[in-house]
Each structure stands twice: as C-alpha cells, then as structure tokens.
C-alpha cells in the first residue's frame, strides 16, 4: 500500500518520496498541494479525514453514525481472529471502520457524503460499510440532497464477514436504485484503488462517475488477472485513463479541481 505517511528512514519526516516519479519532495509542499506530486501529478492515497478537508467547506462536515463497529458473525480466524484484526486496524488507522459518512457543504450547497478509506482493512466493505452507505443514501433521499460517494477500496467485499459482505453489494445497490428512482443526484468519485465488490455495486451506479488521475480501478485485482491469464498485463491497464478510454467514467478530474467540478455539476443537475 502506497500511503502518504512518515517513513522511518526520513529524519523528522520532512521529506517524502513520490511513488510516481521517485522525486524527493518536501512534505509540507505535498500536503499544501492536496497530496499531489508537484513534479508528476501523482495523487497520493489519502485518509478519509484529509479527503474531507479537501472536498468540502471548512468545518461543514457533520459525521453521522460514527460509532458503528463490526461484529464477527462467522467467528473468523486466519492468522489472527477477526476481532483482533479489527482492533489492530483501528489502532493503526485511528478509524472505527472503513467508511465515514455525513452531511457537508460544497461551496455553500448541502450534500450527503460518504468516503471509504483504504487504510482500514483495504477499505473493504463489510456490514458496517454497507449499512452506512445505505443510511447516507436514504438520508439523501429524505432530505433531497445530492449524494457523493468517494471510493477507495482495494479489498472489495470483506472476506472476514463472508456472505454478509457479499450481501452489502445488494443492500447498497438497492438503496441507490431507490434514491435514483426518486430523482436523486448521485456522483461517484473513484480513487486509488477501487476494485471488486465495491466497484461491482454502488461505486459503478452513479449518474456521474469521476475518477482521479491514474487511479487503479477494476473488477478483478491485477494480480488475480495475471495469475489467470499467465502473461504480463498491458501498460496502463485498469487505470482511470483506461476506463475513460473504454467508456466507463464520465471524466478524470485532478484532486485540486475536484471541489470546483462537483460544484459545477451540482449547479447543473440538482
């Protein structure tokens, strides 16, 4: 995982290496530039809290249902038990689960927003993610507000919750179908990485689909595909640009322009 975080070999964490062009960058410059490399436009993976700062008006985000935590319906254990893994991930990421949802304002206009966070069990969707996405969608329907969902999920449906995770694909899609049937505007933002069960459900069902540059987006993970076909994958395969070329996203938008573009879209469609 390519996260923007302090690396041990960098004294005081003043410098960070870009994963796109390998340039050594002054960390403060990158942070001020919304975690985008000034040299090559590489978009670092960011935490949901940082995404909120970038995307919505200052102090406008009101988080909803923040205290929802996962259960262990399967009594799942691999090398560690699922509850142990959850605790570990909570400590590591400072998050309770892989999504935050709530109400916010974008240049003054109210929206409902949900952001999945790839730093918590790969941003995978279990019962909590499914339930919160469904609730925020229903809330958007009730309040007649636009819905914005930002996906950053390399995990798709979360294995540790088995069939319950799979069924969240159905739950979130059903909620979005109702919302859109009632005339609601839904904008999906695909960030690096957006794969699997998240892509095969709510993330692909928007009125407008936006991707961040060079984000990895697809159904099957590149490693699975490579193991299946047993040859190298073409250059640029499953990138945002690849999806644009094949007709599956409406537009690619730089992180710095995202808020402005959302505003313009909402002005047209809401």
């Amino acid at each position: 995982m390519v996260f923007f975080r302090k690396k041990r070999n960098m004294p005081d964490g003043l410098w960070v290496r870009c994963d796109g062009c390998s340039s050594m960058l002054f960390k403060k410059t990158v942070e001020d530039g919304m975690f985008v490399c000034p040299e090559c436009n590489y978009h670092f993976r960011i935490f949901s809290r940082d995404r909120v700062k970038i995307l919505v008006d200052e102090n406008s985000f009101e988080e909803m249902w923040p205290n929802m935590v996962p259960c262990d319906p399967l009594n799942f254990k691999d090398r560690v038990t699922y509850p142990e893994r959850v605790t570990e991930e909570q400590q590591k990421s400072g998050l309770k689960e892989a999504v935050i949802v709530g109400k916010a304002k974008i240049n003054g206009s109210e929206v409902m927003i949900g952001i999945t966070d790839p730093s918590f069990i790969m941003g995978s969707m279990g019962s909590v993610v499914g339930e919160k996405i469904a609730r925020v969608t229903e809330k958007a329907m009730e309040l007649r507000l636009p819905l914005i969902l930002v996906s950053g999920s390399g995990g798709g449906a979360r294995m540790q919750e088995g069939v319950f995770s799979l069924m969240q694909m159905a739950k979130t899609s059903a909620a979005i179908a109702r919302f859109q049937g009632a005339g609601g505007l839904y904008i999906s933002i695909l960030t690096d990485p957006s794969l699997g069960g998240v892509m095969a459900s709510f993330a692909s069902l928007a009125d407008i689909t936006i991707a961040e540059p060079k984000a990895l987006i697809g159904f099957a993970g590149p490693r699975v595909i490579q193991e299946t076909i047993r040859r190298a994958l073409p250059k640029g395969f499953q990138t945002a640009e690849f999806l644009l070329e094949h007709g599956f996203v409406d537009m690619i938008v730089n992180r710095q322009d995202m808020k402005k573009e959302l505003s313009r879209l909402i002005a047209y469609l809401q």
């Binding site: 996962p70 019962s127 499914g130 449906a157 069939v163 739950k171 899609s173 159904f219 395969f237």
Partner: protein, 320 residues
C-alpha cells in the same frame, strides 16, 4: 473398527454399485434369489451414503458442488422445462455461452429462464469459459429480464459459477459495471424473481443474476464472497489451505440458512444430485412451482417493498 474417511466410503459405495450392476446384468438361473441380494446391497449402499453425507466437511461440499457429473443449468432446462425457446445475445457485443437464457414452461407456468452454464465436455467447457460469464453474459441476462418484465413473466435464475471472468477483455468491457447494473436493475424489476444456487455461488459473479424475491440453495451447493482457494491464497498465503478457509467462510447451505440469507435448502437425492439427476430435477421443479404459486397472491408493489427489505436488513454490526 476405525472410522472410515470420506474417500474410503466413496470407494466402498462405488464397489457396491458395481456389484449391483453385475448382479443385475447377470443371467437369472433360479439358483440364487437375485432380487434379495440386490436389495441387501442397495440398503448397505444407502446406509454408507448417509454416513458419508454426515461426515462431509465444508470443502467436501465445495467439491461436490463442482463434481464433473453434477447436473448443470442445461440439464435442468432439458429435465424441468417444456417448450423451451432459447434466446441468444446481449444485442450489444456478443452471445455469452456461460449464460443460458430463454422462455420455457414449468408445468403450466410460463417463465423466463436464466442459468449459468459450465459445460460438460472439454469442448463445451471451453465454449462456456468454465461457467465464468463475461460482461456480455450479464448484459444478455439483463436484456432478457427486461423482456420478462415487459410481458409479465416471472424469472427463474439458476446460479452456478466459480465467479465472473477475470481477464483483460472482461475488464475492457466493464465487468464491474455490468454486474453492478444487473444488481441495481434486479432490485427494481417489476416481476417476481426466483434465485437458486445449484452448484457454485461464486461471489459477485453469482450476485449478478442473484437478486430476487425467493432465494434457495441446493443441499450441496455453496455460496461465498470468495472462493476458498482465493481466500486461502490471500489470508494464509497458500491456496493449499482451502479446506481451512472453506470452513472459516461459512459457505454451506446450512450456514446460509442459519444466517437467514437463504429462505430454504432444497434437499438433494441420497448421495447428492449427480447420483440421481432426474429426481433432483423433479424436486427442483416442484420447489419452483411452489414459489410461482405463492407469487399469485402478491401485488408488484408489495413484492418490491419486500425485496428491498430483504437486502436492507442483512448485516451484523454494533452501535454504541
């Protein structure tokens, strides 16, 4: 006496079946009462069969679900439907042979049939891509389901896939988008839908034709968020741990019934579906007929409200 393993029991059963066949084809000479002997062997075989079924691990069940002789969607079309008219193509890109679609009758009832197809012979299996549909397969199914909605036909889907095809072409043509769109549309399709897992229920690839009003699973079928091999490769770093991950994933029919995810388990003939496909098809047909009769007393509005509630309530979480 030491406990016999599943493999030993299987061999014993096969041996007895050969003996029965030999006896049945042997000329009667009156000296020996053949029928008593055959009856005796059959009873022994059935008791071993029952013993074997009680011993099956989740991974044994996965193997039964993948058994090369297990009846497939095309077999059920032949054994269960009359007056079948196959409908090909997604009217966009191609005709995916991993997805059989068509009009047919179950008893007197007209239905739209959708079934994932794996193929039996090597040639068939390759043509069907081993039951792994491409985006055009999901779009083909959706195109036919919209036809069913327009003409008020209930839809029956038989699920049997290791998963949606993971390859370059499938990604280029939007596998994720195709599956998502099917789930979305099936959530609001104004006609009754029955989903039955007949073999493998492989993740999103299964869910792509798996949304509806009745959800049943055959006794030795499975339904899972990921294949046991895939799960083992990721979490145990070794696909050989599939028997352990199969157990952890809680993917058997019994587990799914316990979780309230499926409405019912459909019993298989003794020794599983492949031992007696005709009986299996009769059981399945009766079950579908029962569901079709239940739909007669419900309005479309109620049906859709119940369908929403079915998926809306699934999930386990805590709120503090």
């Amino acid at each position: 006496m030491s406990e016999k393993t599943v493999a030993e029991l299987e061999n014993l059963i096969l041996e007895i079946e050969h003996q029965i066949e030999d006896l049945q084809s042997a000329p009667t000479n009156g000296r020996l009462d053949k029928s008593t002997e055959i009856q005796h062997l059959k009873e022994r075989r059935d008791s071993l069969q029952m013993k074997l079924c009680s011993k099956l691990t989740p991974y044994d069940i996965v193997k039964i679900a993948r058994h090369p002789l297990r009846p497939l969607s095309a077999d059920y079309v032949n054994m269960m439907l009359t007056d079948f008219i196959e409908l090909h193509g997604d009217k966009r890109f191609g005709d995916d042979k991993a997805m059989i679609c068509g009009l047919g009758r179950i008893g007197k009832e007209r239905v739209l049939f959708i079934g994932q197809q794996k193929g039996k012979s090597t040639k068939e299996r390759i043509a069907c891509n081993f039951g792994m549909p491409n985006p055009e397969g999901y779009r083909k199914a959706l195109q036919k389901m919209k036809l069913a909605e327009k003409f008020h036909l209930p839809i029956v889907t038989l699920i049997d896939t290791p998963g949606a095809n993971p390859d370059i072409g499938a990604e280029e043509r939007g596998q994720a988008q195709a599956i998502a769109e099917n789930i979305y549309e099936m959530c609001r399709l104004k006609t009754p839908i029955i989903n039955i897992v007949i073999g493998e229920g492989g993740s999103g690839g299964a869910l792509g034709i798996g949304i509806g009003d009745k959800f049943a699973i055959l006794e030795y079928a499975y339904y899972s968020v990921i294949s046991p091999e895939g799960c083992a490769a990721i979490l145990w770093k070794n696909a050989e741990n599939a028997p352990i991950s199969a157990k952890s994933l809680k993917l058997t029919a019994k587990d799914l019934l316990n979780f309230g995810v499926v409405d019912e388990i459909i019993s298989e003939p003794l020794g599983a579906a492949h031992k007696n496909p005709k009986t299996m098809a009769d059981i399945l047909k009766a079950q579908i007929s029962k569901y079709l009769a239940e739909f007669k007393n419900i309005s479309i509005d109620d049906l859709l409200a119940n369908r929403y509630a079915r998926y809306r309530k699934i999930g386990k979480y805590l709120e503090t």
